[in-house]
Symmetry: C2
Subunit: 151 residues, 2 copies
């Protein structure tokens, strides 16, 4: 954990609105010169606070009309290691995120598919055959909202 001042927080907030903004623009909004802003952003990157810049795609325009969240409970915990399960899931291209959670289910997977029948194929041939996969719960995504930020 790193300590940031208010200016750092303002810079992060600005970047969260639009990660493509230049140091010049951000600095103008905060009354800071371009080099000073740039140094702060660079320091935050170096410190690992700003981790990456991820591309947001329009899934529908790419032909993926269906997004499903799967809660997966492992059967035979211990007999099959979590690492085995994670490695096998990672190899499925339709799986977008893998989250190891504590609760009713062990893993939460975000899966995209072209349509419902395509999803069924993924579910039956890829997910259900995973090593150790037990109970599975599915939730279809209706609409997603944006992400604001705390701080």
């Amino acid at each position: 954990m790193i300590d940031l001042d208010d200016m750092d927080r303002d810079i992060i907030r600005a970047l969260m609105r639009d990660a493509t903004q230049s140091a010049t623009v951000i600095g103008q909004g905060l009354g800071l010169s371009q080099p000073a802003t740039w140094r702060r952003i660079n320091r935050l990157k170096q410190a690992g606070v700003l981790r990456a810049n991820r591309l947001v795609l329009d899934k529908e325009k790419l032909g993926f009309g269906v997004t499903v969240f799967l809660g997966v409970k492992l059967a035979m915990k211990g007999r099959v290691s979590l690492e085995d399960f994670e490695r096998a899931v990672s190899a499925i291209p339709e799986v977008q995120t893998i989250e190891h959670i504590l609760g009713l289910y062990d893993y939460r997977l975000k899966v995209v598919a072209r349509d419902i029948s395509d999803f069924e194929r993924v579910l039956r041939r890829r997910i259900m055959t995973l090593p150790g996969a037990g109970e599975v719960e599915a939730n279809v995504l209706l609409s997603e909202e944006r992400l604001t930020g705390p701080l």
Copy 2:
């Protein structure tokens, strides 16, 4: 839905690995000149396939040690509109994402907090008091994995 050729797909894949790459670098990896690469990227942006560039922060380094997924079931559906609920949730800064889903729960919320007691505060004072909020299920995030891509 837009039709893309293999080159477009390769470019998107490259950008998904690192969205900050220049057209020059991407083009080199694919045996394409800088202007040609740039024109394709631009076309994809214009078409809305490449929607945005989102900043990925290190939550722990910012002091948010706890991430919880909440499944929220609405009580009194119809009496309180989904819009009311969504507007109220959007005002909570600790809520990172709001997903409207079809399944056992109506919404899935991703909530960050400094620690468990901070999360309890958010849950009791912000989430439980939401208009229409009924049953709530919580899952604590243990570890998150990266996102590869299909196509």
